[in-house]
């Protein structure tokens, strides 16, 4: 799964969407988490695309437009479920035209956020609501 594919997935339905690989319980748990950006990272939006620098390893990361839309929704208050709902709204037209399914969107968001919160990246964290 790549964000580039993400973009394609959301634009048309010709890709087979890979599964996020979570059990139902794990997925339900994740949907309730709040998406927090790592306080230590440097980031900017360049022409709709997010550039991130992680300080620990000084790696520059680039997130494409779809990933950047998800990034924009992560305001430190919204849960994974909130962001999925907003993404579905964002791509409502594509859903109505059957270019993308709501399941694809959910899958993409879960995979994207899992990747950003992974041990190697630590670009975001998924926190329990207090």
């Amino acid at each position: 799964m790549t964000v580039m594919q993400n973009r394609s997935n959301l634009a048309n339905n010709e890709f087979t969407v890979p599964s996020h690989g979570l059990s139902d319980n794990e997925k339900d748990e994740m949907l309730k988490k709040i998406v927090m950006k790592n306080e230590d990272i440097a980031w900017r939006v360049l022409d709709g695309e997010v550039i991130i620098i992680t300080p620990e390893d000084s790696v520059q990361h680039y997130i494409n437009e779809v990933g950047s839309t998800i990034w924009g929704f992560a305001d430190g208050k919204r849960t994974v479920q909130d962001i999925i709902d907003l993404m579905k709204e964002e791509y409502r037209e594509n859903i109505e035209k059957n270019l993308v399914s709501p399941e694809d969107i959910e899958n993409d968001v879960i995979i994207f956020l899992s990747e950003l919160s992974s041990e190697e990246k630590k670009i975001i964290s998924l926190e329990n609501r207090e």
Partner: protein, 364 residues
Amino acid sequence: MTQEDYITVDSINQYIESKSWEKLIPLNATFELTYKCNERCIHCYVETPYEDTELSTGEVFRVLEELAELQTLQINFTGGEIFIRKDIRDILQHARDLKYNVTLSTNGIAIDEDMADFLKEKIKPWDIGISLYGSKPEIHDAVTRVKGSFEKTVNAIKLLRERKIRVKAKIVVLSVNYEDYKNIKKLTDDLGIKHLIDFNITPMLLGGKEPLSLRISDEQIQEFIFNEALGLEVYTLGKERYDIETKKKLDGILCKAGVNFLNITPFGEVTPCVQWYYPVGNVRKDSLHDIWYNSEKLAYIRKKRIKDIEKCNKCEYLAYCNRCSGTALLVDGDSFAASSLSCQYIDNVRAVIEKKYKKGLVPA
């Protein structure tokens, strides 16, 4: 996501760079927070009317906020000596809060344990560049004209390294420390830090020529290029590549300055680059947004092409040249002419290539 999305720094830099050029985003900025310094380096280019008032904390904050809105990502705080400012912690913290990627340039002598802790815990700079002029006090302190500065600088490097902050030594090679260069390099190896070398001494910002007497000779520069092999392979292009590079240079912009790079002086002047004192506006008078997008001087710079410079247009070494508008102004008095320092460097490279590879810079 795969590695493709997490492109290496080089390739992503290229992508971001071209994007920022295309969209006129000042991705990189230097901020000269003060021209005051606790050293008095013999080669320093800073020359300024001190009676002018430097930007206040509030003004610096406002500039940082405006730059963030323009999507500047990389910011280098430099001086003078930045740690002289009493509000330096507030400024660095504000930059961190605004999500900049922060780098610092300093002589390090004011960095103690407490400051090193603060930098590590609160600022997390990408790296800190520290000026180092000798491998021992006699040489370093003779350049800085501050007794004890060598020990303090080396101590700062150690404090930062203990906290795993990336440090690079900025070594300025002068006639007075040329012989010590290898020892300085060894010291940086022993300290576990990288180093950058600079031997391009320029006149002072307002035209003072004093530092020029400290330049190393052409023979020394050649010896230096020869021994240090500063990427010599890039100077031996094949015909096809040479032609492509020459064409690219001719049609290209002068440099990144004013295109995706800008500098703020301690008095709020906006200049295209820290080395190019060519004010295009002042943040005390206009917003940065207004200056960046509406300055006629910047529009002129962005329109200029290398082929517009008569000497460069005819030069057969163009494929290898990184002309600097700042030194063209400082040394030759014209930002939009050839830079004799760049020409001189290429001449030295040519001499080395002829000696080492027994061939010229222009492929047959």
